[in-house]
């Protein structure tokens, strides 16, 4: 029972929102409830860090690895709820339901990080996805109809991706007669180099998680969904599912063993294509959310660089990078959200002169964007330092040179964002007066992106225990 505490805390939050949806609570009180209970979930998952054990016929493992991801996910949910101050993009009547499904979706991710059996993994993935399918089209009616397109795209492609994963599982099960990861890890390294079908099955299985991570070739939904969904929803879709996907990818990639050459080659190709495609497409975007979508495709490629090393240090840097990515991306979405009091999409034109309208938002955007670009002393720089070190340790110089060229390309569009915020146009837009709670969040983002970037030691030593537990 105590092993399941963080999940129960999120379920409790969901139940609270369910009852809220029956009543008439909305606005600040509703958000207050959300902050309270998701904050509780963060504390509980921190408390349960260090617990170990198995549940549900060994299909569900609680160890340092799953617990660190639970902390990150609970924390991410807390930030997303805190950020959604007033839920500008969501209809008033739907607000409790919005929070309800948001929480359920995070719950799905949380259980996913503990799942160590293929069917359980798929179940958890579906819990997460179904909740998300519902909230993507939640957006105030008005000038926008893209939310419907986004919802349909996300659901259809999501279902197809799950189908591909299941198909892959059928191959793996057919060849190994087991669905437990603990058994698979003993069999797969021996056969993956001899039987191409195993490679195909494994890559197909990974496909479902590539979809969540928006990695090439399962990336194409990202720009439309980011653009169509409400700003707060995009903030969620852009960050938390990727954390969950990284957790699962680490578990699944480590199945193949360290020396699975073809497997590494496939992942390497995906990583490079993802980076290159994402960065090149991002260069020409005008809608900031679309730009961030393509940037997230590129970042999926960077994370993959760490994961495909299949070494402890590689996984470690992957975890660090995705945690940093969560913070930096949420910082950008935080700015977008607060710039659009009607829940509209933000373009470069809306960013211009931001530093006069709200210096704090401009600075948050600058720190977030420079972080994503990988400029020291942000978390993005330290993350890239670790990722590249891991890959060079494996001797993947070619991959790193391509990644570095990509970093160079990426800087251009991140700088374009900052430049827009810091150019002074004689804009008519009025100064933005931020609430105290909003300012606190902005300062928090700036501080944590810089501090965690400068002092990664604490996080890394915790993450190292976690990785050791998973391998």
């Amino acid at each position: 029972m105590t092993l399941f505490l963080p999940e129960l805390a999120l379920l409790l939050t969901a139940v609270v929102f369910f009852f809220a949806s029956l009543g008439k609570i909305k606005g600040a009180r509703l958000q207050g409830l959300g902050i309270l209970f998701s904050g509780l979930a963060v504390l509980i998952s921190l408390y349960s860090y260090g617990m170990q054990g198995s549940l549900f016929f060994n299909a569900y493992r609680v160890d340092a690895f799953s617990q660190i991801f639970k902390v990150i996910i609970a924390f991410g949910l807390f930030i997303v709820i805190y950020l959604g101050n007033g839920l500008y993009g969501i209809d008033d009547v739907l607000q409790p339901e919005y929070f309800l499904f948001l929480t359920l979706s995070a719950f799905g991710l949380m259980v996913m990080s503990s799942a160590v059996e293929l069917i359980t993994i798929i179940l958890c993935l579906e819990i997460h996805s179904f909740a998300l399918f519902i909230i993507i089209p939640f957006r105030k009616k008005g000038a926008y109809r893209q939310q419907m397109e986004a919802g349909i795209k996300y659901a259809l492609f999501g279902a197809a991706a799950s189908g591909i994963s299941l198909y892959g599982i059928s191959y793996i099960f057919g060849m190994t007669h087991t669905t437990y990861l603990a058994d698979l890890v003993k069999i797969i390294p021996g056969v993956i180099l001899k039987k191409p079908l195993m490679l195909v099955g494994l890559v197909m299985l990974l496909g479902g998680f590539f979809y969540k991570l928006a990695l090439f070739p399962m990336h194409f939904w990202a720009p439309d969904v980011y653009e169509g969904a409400a700003n707060e929803t995009s903030g969620f879709v852009a960050t938390l599912p990727k954390v969950g996907a990284v957790a699962l990818l680490i578990r699944l990639i480590s199945l193949a063993g360290v020396d699975a050459a073809q497997f590494t080659w496939v992942l390497m190709a995906f990583a490079v294509l993802s980076m290159t495609f994402g960065n090149l497409a991002a260069l020409v975007q005008n809608d900031i959310k679309r730009l961030l979508a393509y940037s997230s495709i590129a970042h999926a490629g960077y994370v993959m660089v760490g994961l495909l090393c299949a070494t402890e240090f590689g996984y470690l840097s992957g975890v660090y990078y995705i945690a940093g990515y969560l913070l930096m991306n949420l910082a950008c979405f935080f700015v977008i959200y607060n710039l659009a009091p009607q829940g509209e999409n933000i373009t470069f034109a809306d960013l211009s002169g931001l530093y006069k309208r709200s210096p704090l938002l401009a600075l948050t955007l600058a720190v977030g964007a420079f972080g994503l670009a990988g400029i020291p002393p942000t978390i993005g720089f330290t993350g890239k330092l670790f990722l590249f070190t891991a890959a060079i340790k494996k001797g993947m110089y070619g991959l790193i040179i391509l990644a570095v060229i990509n970093t160079g390309i990426a800087i251009f569009y991140y700088l374009k964002m900052v430049r827009a915020a810091y150019t002074s146009v004689e804009s008519q837009a009025s100064p933005l007066n931020l609430k105290l709670s909003t300012s606190i969040l902005g300062i928090f983002f700036i501080a944590i992106i810089l501090l965690l970037g400068t002092f990664p030691q604490g996080f890394m030593s915790v993450a190292r225990e976690a990785i050791a537990a998973a391998m």
């Binding site: 330092l385 790193i400 700088l415 030691q457």
Partner: protein, 528 residues
């Protein structure tokens, strides 16, 4: 560690303090209101830093090539990244240059900057911390963090307080520098993976294979050549200089450009000695190109700032030339030339800023014939212009003379070509001085508009006088400055020599194409 470092024995951790004081100062600016107090605060912080940095000079041990005033702390133990600071004879003058120039930057912005003073002071102080950090860090990751951390404040200085084309200039500056440094980043990681350390002296002591050295040499060279800047990657510099506010131009010219030269001395030469020796002819050729093109382009400019910007390309060409001559005189001349360029060109940019505040134009034709109206101003202008063209008795003469001496002693052709640059410098500077001070007027050109052409006030006179002292001090008595670099330069040449000896004859492996071109250039260059 002890074999490389002499730990700081002053009663305060001087190098950390030099980074931390401006950094904390910048945080405190956020809580100060009122432009007047902000200016004073900026001045107080930079002056404090300058005063605190003086013991570096007085307590410097001339007899050792070890890194002095060193501090060592574990920072990210699991990746072996440490917080190591230290200075030697190569970096100490640059640290002092930084701390002494920064108060002048605040002073020359006193009335130039009109808006957002709080942010301006804050950004300037962050800039100072990062610049000092670059010169004192002995860990490659720490170095890289400071190196990149400089970009953002400098970008903001140009982008927020710059001239009409600030948008274009700032992004060009940023992209150029950043693209250079991402390869530096890979080189840093690659060296770590093959040696297991980020500690610069240990990397210097490590023997890399020749092909490995070539890779890291070019990765470093790209980054530093952009920063210097060398032809043909110099194009960001005129744009950035013209658009930056005065203080931004001064920082760029006096300190930022020096980081390129410093990088060559700290990384390229000692870490990749065999590659350096092998690539020397190419780098010398590029330096000569920089000298001649920089001078030639400066000759044709009508914008005063542009002219000085192109002259910087030429002067920095002398620096890289001196470095890649790879002998004692050349390297010392190069380091001294870096300091000189910091003093002289910084002063010239302050001069331009002063006149721009009065006439709101940087065109030579709008600022001509000032001699009658602004006698003190033109006195300083002439002093610094003469210094810029290396007039005997001024600081640049010593530096340029040493570099020319070194090049004539090694390759006569190179010396001959470099002299063309010196002649060009005289041509464009004298043209500038002639027009700005005398022109063809009979003294009545500015009749009726005297009101805005008032002479220098006390603050401006003080700023320029401080730099003028250094012009003559270094010019007439360069001994103490050269003595500081003596031991470290010899040590550097020793490292090069060891690197050459450790390589099998003929370097073993290199590209046939490079080899062929290299040989023909080598023949050309070695023509005696």
């Amino acid at each position: 560690m002890e074999q490389y470092l002499i730990y700081n024995s002053l009663n305060y951790p001087i190098l950390t303090v030099l980074v931390a004081v401006p950094l904390f100062g910048s945080l405190i600016t956020l809580f100060i209101r009122g432009d007047k107090y902000l200016k004073i605060w900026g001045l107080v912080v930079t002056l404090t830093t300058a005063v605190l940095s003086l013991p570096l000079y007085s307590n410097f041990d001339l007899t050792t090539a070890k890194y002095q005033f060193a501090e060592f702390r574990n920072w990210i133990p699991f990746a072996k990244i440490n917080y190591v600071l230290g200075v030697d004879g190569i970096s100490i003058l640059l640290v002092l240059l930084t701390t002494l120039v920064m108060p002048l930057c605040i002073l020359c912005s006193w009335t130039y900057i009109k808006e957002r003073f709080k942010e301006f002071i804050c950004v300037m102080l962050i800039m100072e911390a990062a610049m000092v950090g670059v010169f004192v860090s002995l860990d490659t990751v720490l170095f890289f963090i400071f190196w990149e951390a400089m970009l953002v404040p400098m970008y903001l200085i140009i982008a927020v307080w710059g001239g009409p084309r600030k948008d274009y200039a700032s992004i060009k500056f940023f992209l150029y520098t950043l693209i250079g440094s991402i390869f530096l980043f890979v080189a840093i990681i690659a060296m770590y993976v093959s040696t297991g350390t980020f500690f610069i002296p240990e990397l210097m002591a490590h023997q890399f294979s020749f092909s490995y050295q070539m890779w890291i040499f070019w990765a470093f060279t790209l980054a530093f050549a952009i920063k210097v800047p060398m032809w043909p990657v110099h194009t960001w510099l005129p744009a950035a200089h013209v658009e930056a506010p005065t203080a931004g131009s001064v920082i760029l010219a006096s300190i930022l450009l020096k980081m390129g030269g410093y990088g060559f001395l700290r990384f390229c030469l000692p870490i990749a000695p065999a590659a350096t020796i092998y690539c020397m002819p190419y780098l010398i050729a590029i330096s000569i190109m920089s000298i001649i093109f920089g001078g030639y382009l400066a000759l044709g400019q009508n914008d005063v700032k542009r002219l000085i910007a192109y002259s910087s390309v030429g002067h920095m060409g002398f620096v890289t030339l001196g470095i890649f001559l790879l002998n004692d005189v050349g390297i010392k001349g190069a380091i001294l030339q870096m300091v000189n360029h910091g003093v002289t060109t910084g002063a010239l940019f302050i001069c331009v800023g002063i006149i721009y505040e009065r006439t709101h134009s940087r065109e030579i034709s709008d600022n001509s014939a000032l001699g009658m109206l602004m006698p003190i101003y033109v006195t300083f202008l002439v002093i610094f212009s003469l210094s810029s063209l290396a007039f005997p008795g001024t600081n640049s003469f010593v530096g340029e003379f040493l570099v020319l001496m070194a090049s004539f002693s090694k390759y006569k052709l190179v010396g001959g070509l470099a002299v063309i640059g010196a002649i060009l410098a005289a041509a464009y500077m004298l043209r500038l001085v002639q027009k700005m001070v005398w022109a063809d007027s009979d003294g009545h050109m500015h009749h009726g508009e005297k009101s805005h052409l008032f002479d220098l006030n006390f603050r401006e006179t003080g700023t320029l006088a401080f730099l003028a002292i250094f012009v003559f001090w270094i010019g007439l008595n360069p001994g103490p400055f050269l003595k500081i670099m003596d031991t470290s330069t010899l040590h550097l040449l020793q490292q090069l020599e060891d690197g050459r000896k450790a390589m099998p004859a003929g370097h073993g492996e290199y590209h046939a194409l490079l080899n062929g071109v290299g040989e023909s250039i080598r023949h050309l260059v070695a023509f005696k």
